[in-house]
């Protein structure tokens, strides 16, 4: 099948901004005298509007990597830039979706999303419109006044995605965004995320344990290994969006990646998800 760059897909807005570049990232944690290398010489260039999935076993430093790009942790060696600007601290240009929704239980859905706009210098009306638009974007119209405990897991995660997008970030970082959801909701939200990405055009970097999810959504899949965390393999997924889950190309790639991750010559077809666990 011929590769159709996402920029040529009708309706897909591609922004000229949102290029993320990681060069020679080294990160270690110190436990008393021992030092634990989490990331070693990690380099990656992400194009504006590209969707990059990162898969790897538990403890390979994927989540740490995302925290570094988000600016939640500034103690590392190497450089991270967004559109040539060095990343320092957090920024509204870099959105982040956590594995758990992290909505504030004391705020309504609407207020949770509006919180993200607290420090945007725009009028009240403009804020209200952005909030309403993004609630509609994730399909939660009618739930504006609901509290998080009144929402299902999938709805809460949609709200979290709306909150991260309401600032129209140049790049959206997703840390196993569907990892805590049941299988059906997960499949549904993957489709939703693809739709939102096509409509929004932000660069997306998604961490996941789920190889199928990585391939279904990513223009590129980066495969990592642990101890220390590094890239072992990059897979280009030359299929147009939106994709067909049943595509034989996806299945072949999945088997390849699983084989590499599990270190066996050929992985059984039924193994879809890797063993789940917490990353550093």
């Amino acid at each position: 099948m011929d590769y159709v760059p996402h920029s040529q897909i009708p309706g897909h807005k591609v922004k000229q901004t949102g290029a993320v570049s990681l060069k020679g990232i080294k990160k270690q944690f110190n436990f008393k005298d021992r030092e634990l290398k989490v990331l070693s010489e990690f380099s990656l260039d992400v194009q504006p509007g590209e969707f990059v999935s990162i898969v790897g076993p538990s403890g390979c430093g994927k989540s740490t990597l995302l925290r570094l790009i988000a600016g939640l942790d500034d103690t590392y060696d190497g450089t991270i830039t967004l559109d040539g600007q060095r990343v320092a601290g957090t920024s509204l240009e870099r959105g982040l979706v956590f594995q758990d929704h992290r909505l504030f239980p004391w705020m309504t859905l609407e207020d949770n999303i509006a919180l993200a706009l607290t420090n945007r210098q725009i009028s009240k009306d403009a804020k209200a419109k952005l909030v309403a638009d993004h609630i509609a974007l994730v399909g939660l119209k009618g739930f504006e006044k609901a509290f998080p405990h009144q929402l299902s897991g999938g709805m809460a995660q949609r709200a979290a995605i709306a909150r991260s997008l309401v600032n129209e970030p140049k790049v959206l970082l997703l840390d196993e965004p569907f990892g805590a959801l049941d299988a059906l909701t997960r499949v549904h939200l993957q489709g939703e995320l693809q739709r939102i990405w096509l409509a929004q055009g932000s660069t997306m970097i998604m961490i996941t344990h789920d190889v199928e999810e990585a391939l279904y959504l990513g223009d590129r899949v980066v495969v990592m290994q642990a101890n220390p965390g590094r890239i072992t393999h990059t897979v280009d997924v030359n299929l147009p969006h939106p994709r067909d889950r049943a595509s034989p190309v996806l299945h072949r790639l999945k088997d390849e990646i699983l084989a590499e991750l599990t270190n066996v010559p050929e992985a059984p077809n039924s193994v879809v998800r890797l063993i789940k666990g917490d990353d550093q």
Binding site: W106, N119, F147, H149
Partner: protein, 262 residues
């Protein structure tokens, strides 16, 4: 399940059940009082208590004492609780303040509240100021503790969200830390309320000067007026009950965002 199948709500006003023990108690009490003799010293008849209530009410004595106690408890709560909350916030938000204040707070807290009476009596006499200090102190301790604990327990995962959206210190406090700590702060307020009311009556009994329900009870005891003592006890109990009820309602209202399951 079994409780549900019993369905106590079928007896619509369930609270009526709560009236059974006190009514039984009063019947027994009146029975003992009617025996006369030695019993009459320990028990007074309900009619007598009722008469005392009417007398105290019409003379304005009751209103004066009651108002004085209630005012003392509330101003103690406001002063002690207010300062306590501020100290708790300072300790919860700033490590240096925590390190500086923790040792002295934790050692002073070990002294029972009425253990301060002799010292405060010597310094400030046995007037209203001394009483107010004791009552405020009893509200101060739990509010400091629970405000501090509540702020300490705010999860880093929620604070990360604040960082991602670049909230400044003030915004982080009002939007995240304060509401996250509020359930704990309310627990402290509950305790503070119970302690202020108890210590109000206690300090009035011990200093037994000026107006107040405690002082009134002390006087009545000296005059062997058991009926007056009982009226006072009745008002002390009912007030404590009412205060608890109000705070419970307030916390339910303010914390309505919490899941019913939690």
């Amino acid at each position: 399940m079994t409780l549900k199948t019993l369905n106590l709500n079928a007896f619509k006003p369930v609270w009526l059940l709560g009236l059974i023990p006190p009514v039984l108690f009063l019947l027994w009490w009146d029975h003992e009082a009617a025996k006369g003799g030695a019993n009459a010293l320990a028990f007074v008849s309900l009619a007598q208590v009722g008469q005392a209530l009417i007398d105290m009410f019409s003379s304005g004595e009751l209103a004066l004492s009651y108002g004085s106690s209630l005012g003392r408890a509330l101003s103690g709560l406001l002063i002690g609780g207010g300062i306590g909350t501020l100290v708790g916030i300072a300790m919860g938000l700033s490590k240096p303040v925590e390190w500086a204040a923790s040792p002295i707070y934790n050692s002073f807290r070990q002294v029972p509240i009425l253990g301060w009476l002799p010292l405060i009596g010597l310094w400030f006499g046995s007037g209203d100021l001394s009483k107010l200090i004791i009552v405020a102190l009893s509200a101060f301790y739990p509010t400091v503790l629970y405000t501090f604990e509540g702020l300490k327990q705010v999860e880093a995962r929620l604070l990360d969200v604040g960082r991602v959206y670049r909230l400044n210190g003030w915004q982080t406090f009002w939007r995240i830390q304060w509401p996250a700590a509020l359930p704990s702060i309310f627990t402290g307020l509950f305790q503070a309320l119970a302690f202020t009311w108890i210590s109000t009556i206690g300090v009035e009994l011990l200093f037994s000067s000026g107006a107040g329900l405690g002082a009134m009870m002390q006087q009545a005891q000296l005059q062997a007026r058991l009926d007056i003592v009982l009226v006072c006890i009745l008002f002390v109990g009912l007030t404590g009950f009412a205060i608890n009820f109000l705070i419970k309602r307030l916390s339910q209202h303010v914390l309505s965002w919490r899941s019913v399951r939690a």
